[in-house]
């Protein structure tokens, strides 16, 4: 299968190892991964902040980028960006009075999957240890990000994949379904409320005794990880793609640094 990777802006610029891990998993399964070079961002930050006029060129660029190349499906290692592509892009196009863009955005959205959706629903992965060779001998807890959980209805796809990783020790996160408080520019405009939500999330994570909290959205993980870092916690955050990419021969450390292998340095 020919799979177009939508890296998402935050992963592209801040967490390239998450996108590399995504590529690695898919190539390990024997699929061809392409990276449409025109891609930049889903525009969610603009849309959610109410800057619709500014969001329109961002959304248009995404549609153009993922229309200009041939592929079977597109994938992104982010529930929130995929939810934006699938749900917000057509709504924005309609609001801006562009019916043609709306139809094109719907077509791109229909071919776009969040990583665990692609792995489980399309590629039939149910056991990461057996089918992907995933091995990660650490104690891990998991935060299900809101947009994946509620907009995409991912259910336990990410969680089940994580639990099937070889050597992993899994700890349930108390109040897992509670938002971490990120919310894009909410974290700036309502920084106090956002921080209060983060405090509770961080406390719950630390109570599990896990060495890291996994998740499916780099933005939420940056938020949670940033809070844990500020309080000098021993716990950190890591995208589940990196845990799935980790193998016995090419292990990934709890901080996401690839210890062995030719995938490049962080």
């Amino acid at each position: 299968m020919k799979i177009a990777l939508f890296a998402t802006c935050i992963v592209d610029a801040m967490y390239p190892q998450t996108a590399r891990a995504t590529v690695k998993i898919l190539e390990r399964l024997g699929h061809e991964v392409i990276f449409p070079s025109g891609q930049a961002c889903c525009g969610q930050m603009h849309i959610n902040s109410g800057y619709m006029d500014e969001a329109l060129p961002v959304v248009t660029n995404h549609v153009n980028a993922f229309e200009s190349v041939a592929y079977d499906v597109a994938v992104a290692p982010s529930g929130s960006c995929v939810a934006s592509v699938k749900h917000q892009h057509p709504v924005l196009a309609e609001r801006c009075g562009d019916a043609a863009l709306k139809a094109r955005a719907e077509a791109v959205g229909a071919k776009t999957y969040e990583l665990s959706q692609l792995l489980v629903d399309v590629l039939g992965i149910t056991n990461a240890a057996e089918q992907l060779g995933s091995h990660f001998p650490h104690k891990v807890t998991y935060h299900p990000s809101c947009h994946g959980m509620r907009s995409l209805k991912l259910g336990d796809r990410q969680l089940d994949l994580l639990k099937s990783v070889g050597g992993i020790e899994f700890a349930d996160l108390p109040e897992a379904d509670q938002c971490c408080g990120f919310g894009g520019t909410f974290s700036l405009k309502n920084a106090d409320v956002s921080s209060a939500m983060l405090d509770d999330k961080a406390r719950n994570i630390e109570s599990t005794g896990a060495s890291l909290c996994a998740g499916g959205d780099a933005s939420c993980l940056m938020h949670i990880g940033g809070g844990l870092s500020r309080t000098k916690s021993d716990t950190t955050t890591l995208h589940f793609a990196e845990i799935l990419a980790s193998t016995i021969t090419e292990p990934v450390s709890v901080t996401g640094d690839i210890l062995v292998g030719k995938a490049g340095v962080r």
Binding site: A7, C9, E32, V91, F182, K189, M197, R230
Partner: protein
């Protein structure tokens, strides 16, 4: 635009009353977050109601279908509101009731005050009602020399404590029972000075206090949960029986209701009476449901009035993307599951309607250009818990985003310097609308790495970004973006798996 025509001027009439908040949400939230007792009370209360709701909702195999039916019925009502209102008026009037139309809070207040004065009384008892909170009826009546006694236990606590409700269903949710005892001791006439904070004793003290009022009041004021167009029937759903007392004992009953509360007919109650109690108190059925249709000679109130109030509802109905906010049945499930509400409490929202529904309904009723109210749609991380909990499936996150758009657009014409947020969004629009632009900017990533210093953390940022670094670090950026790595270092792997999609 909506085709609703009510014989009024065509410009939208925005709502007034207790809908205009006095300070921005972030300012109020900052203060309320410091109230640790309130936060502890709220956390306990909201989590208890949440769990109860989940349990009773899980009992119904057709819960999702019920939500769909509730949503569809309300959409139908809003699409046919003028005709349904006229049908209701005809039937209500035929049964001896009198309808009064009020365009805004002031009109509604003066109609009610006039009706009370006709009865030559200066005391009225009240059933808990959001509509009368919205218009500030108690305060208005006080100015007119009329005392209104709240008879719902929690409303009584709020009234005696000279406080404001912080929740639409449990208005004293921010108080614990010790605080309630202290309020009773200080404010309730003839209260037992040895009153403890045992809930049963508190309820008995309130009951004794209220019983005197029920038996002496000549006029009662209520709101309504539903109005049935095909019969002219009104309905109040409650837990304590105080409503039943108010609705049956006094000679005169005045109900104040927003025009959006209509349902086509009594068969619709089958759906809504399953949705409402389970979503609000987490009960299968509420203890008291009262329905009344006009006047029955020799039984119950002989003067039955209804004030049908717009107060911004027509303006909300005219908003194509926001109008489903009017479908709200005031169950409060959205605030009980909201992580923002849980931490700030209802007072931070400044309006009669707090929480997620308040963050959309308040600015829809008043118009987004109402300055402080324009901060309400941002009072959400868009986590979506409210949408999942809403019994009539109001897509609150989508309406929040829509209203943010209205807010930003409404400020575009203003001739003032762009805000930091404006500049960030303009810059972001350039950077994110082209892979080339973003790639170019990513060449600067090593600079960020440099800024992060030896511990690989960025701990302080200027301007609005300081909101981030007040409680979070940013990791040092990587030396190479994914895009760059892909171009220079990735060795393409041809597909070996011929598995078809």
């Amino acid at each position: 635009m909506s085709n609703v025509f009510m014989g009024m001027p065509t410009l939208p009439v925005f709502g007034d009353g207790n809908l205009h908040i006095e300070e921005t949400f972030p300012t109020a939230a900052h203060r309320e977050l410091g109230n640790t007792q309130m936060r502890a009370n709220l956390r306990h209360a909201t989590h208890t109601i949440r769990d109860k709701r989940l349990k009773v909702v899980a009992e119904l195999p057709d819960w999702e279908e019920l939500r769909d039916a509730g949503s569809a019925t309300k959409n139908l009502v809003m699409a046919n509101l003028p005709a349904l209102l006229e049908e209701f008026e005809k039937n209500f009037t035929a049964r001896g009731g009198i309808i009064h139309w009020a365009r805004d809070a002031h009109e509604a207040n003066s109609i009610v005050a006039g009706l009370i004065k006709e009865q030559n009384t200066t005391e009225v008892v009240k059933v808990k009602s959001m509509a009368t909170q919205e218009i500030g009826l108690n305060e208005y009546l006080e100015e007119q020399g009329i005392s209104a006694f709240e008879t719902d236990l929690a409303e009584l606590i709020v009234q005696l404590g000279h406080d404001k409700p912080s929740h639409i269903l449990v208005p004293a949710i921010h108080k614990n029972r010790t605080e309630v005892r202290d309020i009773f001791l200080a404010e309730m006439p003839n209260v037992d000075p040895n009153l403890t904070d045992e809930p049963r004793l508190l309820a008995m003290a309130a009951r004794e206090h209220l019983r005197r009022k029920f038996l002496s009041a000549k006029v009662a004021i209520s709101g309504a949960n539903f109005a049935l167009a095909d019969s002219g029937t009104l309905a109040v759903v409650e837990s304590e029986g105080n409503g039943r007392m108010c609705l049956t004992l006094p000679e005169t009953l005045i109900t104040v209701m927003g025009i959006e509360k209509l349902l086509p007919g009594k068969e619709d109650l089958e759906v809504f009476m399953q949705l409402l109690p389970r979503s609000s108190t987490g009960e299968r059925m509420n203890p008291y449901t009262s329905l009344w249709t006009g006047v029955t000679e020799g039984d119950g109130p002989q003067n039955v009035h209804l004030v049908l109030m717009d107060n911004g509802r027509t303006a909300a109905l005219a908003d194509k993307y926001g109008r489903t906010a009017l479908n709200c049945i005031r169950c409060s499930a959205c605030m009980n599951v909201c992580p923002v509400y849980e931490r700030t409490g209802g007072h931070a929202y400044g309006s009669t309607y707090p929480g997620p529904i308040g963050a959309i309904l308040t600015p829809l009723l008043t118009g987004i250009t109402s300055e402080e109210n324009s901060t309400l749609p941002y009072a959400s991380s868009l986590c979506g818990a409210c949408y999942d909990a809403c019994p009539v499936k109001i897509n609150i996150p989508e309406i929040l985003v829509h209203l943010r758009g209205e807010d930003v657009d409404s400020k575009r014409g203003e001739k003032k310097l762009p805000s930091q947020m404006d500049l960030m969004m303009k810059g972001g629009s350039w950077a994110f609308s082209s892979g080339k632009h973003l790639g170019l900017l990513e060449k600067g990533l090593p600079l960020g790495k440099l800024a992060a210093g030896r511990d690989k953390k960025i701990k302080a940022l200027p301007g609005i970004a300081a909101g981030w670094t007040q409680s979070r670090d940013i990791p040092a950026p990587p030396s190479q973006s994914f895009r760059d790595w892909w171009k220079k270092d990735h060795t393409p792997v041809a597909a070996t798996n011929k598995q078809e999609k």
